[in-house]
């Protein structure tokens, strides 16, 4: 299934955000290895910016506003790449590698 034109990564959801993704906490997905040009961003190897766009178009059925905000995730969602804060990895510009695990944890609601 995976060849040079696609890349497979593991997605993990927690903190309640999984209800937006068919209530599955783990998913393995395969996306194009090359992100098409979008907005002001030229075509480039798939990065987190592209992954989030792809997820909102292909995985989210409704209530997208509870996950995405513009080109990034909604404030209050923690993003980890291979157990590490995406802020240490370049955030949206991080280039996905084969077998990466990307975690999305929602923390906003509650009290």
């Amino acid at each position: 299934m995976e060849d040079e034109k696609t890349i497979t990564v593991k997605l993990v959801f927690g903190g309640g955000v999984e209800v937006l993704f068919s209530n599955k906490r783990n998913q393995s997905i395969t996306i194009p290895a090359q992100a098409p040009a979008s907005g002001s961003h030229p075509s480039r190897p798939a990065d987190l910016r592209y992954l989030i766009l792809w997820m909102s178009e292909s995985l989210l059925t409704d209530r997208k506003e509870l996950f995405v905000d513009g080109e990034t995730v909604r404030p209050g969602i923690l993003v980890l790449v291979n157990d590490t804060d995406w802020e240490l990895e370049g955030e949206l510009d991080y280039e996905l590698q084969k077998g990466d695990e990307v975690v999305f944890i929602s923390t906003l609601h509650g009290g």
Partner: protein
């Protein structure tokens, strides 16, 4: 005109890079970091201890501000604690931390475990308003930790039997008020005993602005928790309020005119009929990232999904409530100006009420200012009584009558923000909350007045009592 106030350098708050020094953990200085918290980098081995310390420190400050930070165990027996669980992420983290720090199976030292006595948990269930019930999953969660779990249904706030169950004085009749008069006079209830869910709906439906509905549910939840705590002889009610949530609540309180009780939003002691209950928020220094990390690293599942807010079903059509606006504003700010969220909380810790409290609000049990409700009525002229009485004289004479009608009413025993929720009109989607409009039950408003929760009662003042029994008193006592 706003540019007249000289801005300071803080106005400009430039965006900084996400972390200050290198990518190495600041604690062990050897591992590559995994999480950035307030510009500081921590690795996943050093994070848990740091977060547990933070939790314990906030809790000690709240429970026993005078006690030395460690060592010497307190001589007084530790307080019994009740956890208020909403089912959201932070309440799941609270439950896990309490277990980890205070149970025999957890990782706390023996002397540290003695900080609290018996621990139990309570959840206020609003499924009567159309929200998915979290009772089953929360019960499972608590069973897993071996913590006693109680459910209180939201509509019990309007259930006379519950009033007796939690030890409130049950002699007075249920109070109904007339919203059409600014003093909110008590009116006799024409309707007979009715279903508490219908009464709750009638209460919410009578609120004059949609933005009051979630605010009122928040207050009802707080009071149900408090009375449950005191009836189970717990002197401490622990809530999982995180830092951004606290900042949201604080700004919301300001927007409701509740500045007088601002400090109470961080920490408060409430006098109930069965004793004092202290509300503490040991997660109040935790950012959303820290919460998220704890959820992830401890593999905790959150019963309430991101679209499961209790107010969701009660959102007004065509606009946002003050609560939602404040949440969006604060969370948006956190992204661009990360220090603002903690600054709001610190500011609230530094201010104190401008005067002595005159009484306790009959609705929310928070301290209230003298004449605050009259102040409110005085800032906007709502009627021109003098035009009728002084018609012959100069119609431009300012009104000499007090702005509120002379009759007595609930307004005299409310705080400013509860008064505002009951009286302020207009605004986004006024009166348009679909979930409340339909399926409203049998109570007809107008004739019966607005029903009040069971703890709000028509109390006669001492003076009025003397007046009514005056003829029978033999001598001046």
């Amino acid at each position: 005109m706003s540019c007249d106030a000289p801005p300071s350098t803080e106005d400009l708050m430039p965006r900084r890079s996400r972390y200050d020094r290198g990518q190495t953990c600041i604690k062990c200085k050897s591992q590559r970091g995994n999480l950035v918290i307030k510009h500081t980098v921590y690795c996943s081995s050093c994070l848990p201890a740091m977060l547990v310390r933070k939790f314990r420190r906030a809790l000690s400050t709240s429970l026993d501000p005078a006690a030395p930070s460690r060592g010497t165990p307190s001589r007084t027996p530790p307080p019994d604690v009740i956890l208020g669980l909403s089912g959201g992420p932070s309440s799941v983290v609270l439950l896990d931390l309490v277990w980890k720090c205070f149970s025999a199976q957890g990782s706390g030292r023996k002397d540290e475990r003695r900080q609290v006595g018996k621990v139990r948990a309570v959840h206020i269930d609003w499924s009567c308003l159309g929200r998915a019930s979290l009772v089953e999953s929360l019960k499972e969660n608590c069973d897993h930790y071996g913590i006693d779990f109680t459910v209180v249904r939201g509509e019990e706030a309007f259930e006379p039997a519950w009033r007796n169950a939690v030890g409130l004085d049950g002699s007075a009749a249920d109070a109904h008020i007339d919203l059409s008069s600014a003093r909110l006079p008590f009116v006799p209830s024409l309707a007979g005993p009715s279903d508490p869910v219908a009464t709750l709906r009638a209460h919410l439906r009578s609120l004059p602005t949609p933005t009051s509905v979630p605010a009122t549910l928040h207050t009802l939840t707080r009071l149900l928790l408090l009375h449950t705590a005191s009836s189970s002889d717990c002197s401490v009610l622990m809530l999982g309020t995180s830092l951004p949530r606290l900042s949201i609540d604080l700004l919301e309180t300001v927007a409701y005119g509740g500045g007088f009780a601002l400090g109470a939003e961080r920490e408060e002691i409430v006098r109930t009929s069965r004793g004092d209950v202290k509300i503490v928020r040991p997660l109040r220094d935790w950012s959303l990232k820290e919460l998220g990390w704890w959820l992830y690293s401890r593999q905790l599942s959150v019963p309430r999904g991101v679209n499961g807010k209790p107010t969701q079903a009660l959102a007004p059509t065509g606009g946002k409530t003050i609560g939602k606006l404040t949440e969006d504003f604060v969370i948006g700010l956190e992204r661009d100006y990360p220090s603002t969220v903690s600054t709001i909380s610190k500011t609230a810790a530094k201010v104190v009420p401008a005067e002595e409290a005159a009484y306790t609000c009959a609705y929310c049990l928070r301290p209230a200012q003298k004449d605050a409700t009259r102040w409110k009525a005085g800032t906007a002229i709502m009627s021109l009584p003098f035009l009728i009485t002084n018609a012959a004289t100069d119609p431009l004479t300012p009104p000499k009558t007090p702005p509120l009608p002379a009759e007595k009413g609930l307004a005299d025993s409310l705080c400013y923000s509860c008064y505002t929720h009951l009286t302020a009109r207009g605004g986004t989607g006024a009166g348009k909350i679909p979930a409340l409009a339909s399926n409203g039950g049998l109570v007809t408003l107008g004739e019966a007045g607005m029903p009040m929760p069971v703890w709000v009662q028509q109390k006669l003042t001492e003076e009025e009592m003397r007046e009514s029994i005056g003829g029978f008193l033999l001598e001046d006592e």
